[in-house]
């Protein structure tokens, strides 16, 4: 692999070890009876301290969330195209400016359409 990215792997390992170590310590303390561990059916109920829940939480969910997910995909890809363009803008000069203006304009058509269709409203 590229040597530049090797330190990232080490940091990733550290980032995995820290929470794993913490959870293991907590578990070990439970085993050594240094922290309480007395599960019972009432305590382990979903939302134990409040009203009894009815049914599972894994249900169909409001569709509005998916509109925004779809719009996000479009705009995020656009942002990805903008980054390399920005890096090389000084070489591209006028060509780059016009090219990106056209690209954004096409995107804006869809954006205005979504706005007019009230897809950006949360109602």
């Amino acid at each position: 692999m590229l040597p530049e990215y090797a330190p990232l792997a080490v940091l990733l390992a550290v980032a995995i070890l820290f929470p794993a170590g913490g959870i293991a310590t907590s578990w070990l303390l439970g085993r050594l009876r240094l922290r309480p561990d007395h599960p019972n059916p009432v305590k382990n109920d979903t939302y134990e301290c409040g009203v009894e829940t009815i049914g599972s939480a894994w249900i169909q969910f409001n569709v509005r969330y998916y509109y925004f997910a779809l719009l996000f995909v479009i705009f995020d890809i656009e942002a990805l195209f903008l980054l390399p363009w920005a890096v090389y803008f000084r070489q591209l000069q006028l060509f780059g400016l016009i090219e990106m203006a056209i690209f954004i304009l096409i995107l804006m058509v869809g954006y205005v359409y979504a706005w007019k269709k009230r897809a950006l409203e949360w109602t």
């Binding site: 330190p7 940091l11 907590s26 509005r64 969330y65 920005a86 890096v87």
Partner: protein, 380 residues
């Protein structure tokens, strides 16, 4: 720094890959140390600052001025019973708190603390930051969905809608910086700022957008609808207790410090100090700026009330995104015209004020003519 000293000490005596392994381990452990120390200090600082803003003392019993309060809390939380409710998706439920910490810590990998003192100064540093930062939404959804609790699920769904939306202005606001700086490498961007002026001055609108969007990505109070205590109990971590619960807190504060470090690097000139105040070493200046940004985040938190979800989404899609795109367009124009730093700063400041005022007027007009008032509905 320490790493280079170790590297020169070991060079020639052991194979190269071993030197690389040692230095990167040292760097990674150093970052973890910085993050954990910042967590302890940050939680204390947040409680103290909030206390002061609300005209009370905040923690002042454990240790001098309450400094050891966080450590006491950490020990307490380790001694708490770890409850796993019935009906949770066990694998995901146990993984989520661990995963929450990963993206927050990984952001620090590319942050240059001082000249040449980044763990991995990638040439795609900025892209890495936004990619890893966006991963923060995954553990929140894992936690909310696996808990099998409706409050958690609503919190998680809101979190996705919000984080995903604010990701766009966040990335778009950075394009202006890249246009000026001509690189995605974070250290190169800092060097550019030291020569041509901080991006805070040359890109004020981008700073505003990045700060607001960053605050939304962090789930902090003006925008913390995914855990709004007054509606959702505790949002996505309602069903968590003991150490797993505290890991979410650690992740949140690590994210906060990561965002502050990124803002420092991108807008406040990183380790740079300006011409006069070159008294302390670069890394001290860097850390001081990070804590200053963290303080501003706390200030915002104690000042502004929580937004409703329709306000939050509308603000992102109708205000921040078009403004970010216009900012890119005008910055490209200035770069094409080869204007100098101070001229760009003045032009962009005027532009920022004009755009914010004009766009507010535009949206106010639309709001007045809107036929459908906001109605709260279940699942919202």
């Amino acid at each position: 720094m320490v790493n280079q000293w170790v590297a020169t000490l070991l060079a020639g005596r052991v194979p190269d890959w071993f030197v690389a392994l040692i230095t990167s381990t040292l760097g990674a452990v150093g970052i973890l140390g910085f993050v954990l120390a910042s967590n302890v200090l940050g939680v204390w600082m947040e409680r103290k600052v909030l206390g002061r803003f609300q005209i009370r003392y905040g923690p002042n019993r454990v240790g001098p001025v309450g400094l050891l309060q966080t450590l006491a809390d950490a020990i307490k939380v380790l001694g708490k019973e770890a409850i796993t409710p019935f009906g949770v998706d066990r694998w995901v439920y146990w993984l989520a708190p661990g995963v929450a910490f990963l993206p927050a810590l990984l952001t620090f990998a590319v942050v240059p603390f001082a000249p040449g003192a980044a763990l991995a100064d990638l040439d795609i540093g900025l892209l890495f930051v936004s990619a890893v930062g966006a991963l923060g939404v995954v553990p929140i959804f894992m936690a909310g969905w696996s808990s099998n609790n409706k409050y958690s699920l609503i919190g998680a769904m809101r979190s996705i809608a919000q984080t995903v939306s604010y990701e766009i202005p966040l990335v778009l606001s950075l394009v202006g910086l890249v246009l000026l700086g001509g690189s995605l490498r974070l250290s190169a961007l800092v060097e550019y700022q030291l020569q041509h002026g901080w991006f805070l001055l040359t890109q004020p609108l981008a700073f505003l957008i990045f700060f607001i969007a960053g605050s939304a990505e962090l789930n902090r109070t003006p925008t913390d609808i995914m855990e709004g205590e007054s509606e959702l109990v505790a949002g996505y971590h309602t069903e968590y207790s003991g150490f797993k619960f505290s890991l979410f807190y650690v992740a949140e504060y690590t994210h906060l410090f990561a965002a502050a470090a990124i803002i420092t690097v991108l807008f406040l000139g990183g380790w740079g100090t300006g011409p006069v105040l070159n008294l302390a070493p670069a890394v001290v200046w860097f850390v001081a700026k990070v804590y200053l940004v963290v303080f501003v985040f706390m200030w915002v938190r104690s000042t502004l009330p929580r937004l409703r979800i329709d306000q939050l989404m509308g603000f992102c899609w109708k205000f921040l995104i078009p403004l970010a795109l216009l900012n890119i367009f005008f910055t490209a124009l200035w770069v094409y015209a080869a204007l100098s730093g101070p001229v760009i700063a003045v032009l962009n400041l005027l532009l920022a004020v004009a755009l914010v005022v004009l766009w507010t007027q535009l949206l106010a007009g639309e709001e007045a003519g809107s036929p459908v008032p906001y109605v709260a509905r279940p699942g919202g």
